[in-house]
């Protein structure tokens, strides 16, 4: 089984809830989901509270996507990262994408981002 997604519309973007394991088998699917929402013109807040496994495959997804989002003046923010995600990010000094503690903080981050408009 791959990842499961559900989404909630925001004023100018989407809160994308991701459930499952982000690994070599599912990383491409996650990247496709993020880029799909980017193609819709959305900022994306990726809710990682239900990600039970996460490794460098997921890090590479966000490192690739961060530049693509930036080029299109859209924001990509990770929110409520599960313990395994937080641990991987801390060890490798992850900084490609903003990480927010909760939805309110993520929305504040979006408001502070230049959308090129």
């Amino acid at each position: 089984m791959s990842l499961a997604y559900s989404s909630e519309n925001l004023p100018r973007g989407v809160l994308l809830h991701i459930r499952g394991e982000v690994d070599l088998a599912s990383a491409r699917d996650l990247e496709d989901q993020l880029l799909h929402h980017l193609d819709q013109g959305h900022d994306v807040i990726a809710d990682f509270s239900d990600v039970s496994y996460f490794d460098m495959s997921g890090v590479h997804v966000f490192e690739r996507c961060s530049g693509i989002f930036r080029e299109k003046h859209r924001a990509l923010v990770i929110v409520d990262a599960s313990p395994v995600v937080q641990k991987v990010f801390r060890i490798i000094g992850f900084s490609a994408v903003s990480v927010a503690m909760n939805k309110e903080e993520a929305l504040a981050l979006l408001r502070g981002i230049d959308h090129g408009e």
Binding site: D23, L24, Y53, D55, M56, P83, V84, I91, I92
Partner: protein, 142 residues
Amino acid sequence: MASERTPWEMTIQFQTDPETFRVVRRSITSALRTAGLSESRTLDVEVAVGEILSNAYVHAYGQKPGLLAIDLKFDGDQFVLLIHDHGKPLTAIPEIPQTLPRPTGTGGRGLYLVGQLMDAAEILHPGPTGLGTAVRIVKRLR
């Protein structure tokens, strides 16, 4: 005082396939939990194993089919895992990095992560069969 926990060992052999890796990770973590390893430390091992399998898939076998094996031993106090392949030797990274490699470098961040998650980690050139590469990782029960 000697541990009263019964030592055991197991070996898993499988083909390089990302979906299979998930099955293997779960098999390993199930064994670790049953032996009494905490949830947090079990997850450390799971991520480390996942990274090593990804490395073998990408670097040793070039994302093509190949044979992998994991020897897992528990001596009552610690778990020792030897993950080995028969593929292209891992020459670009001779040992587990002790400092975080740059993202733009020749890689190694995954193995750095392995080293940080485990109590001990080393790369063996070649692996125990005289071919490929092996990574030996250790996690203490406590």
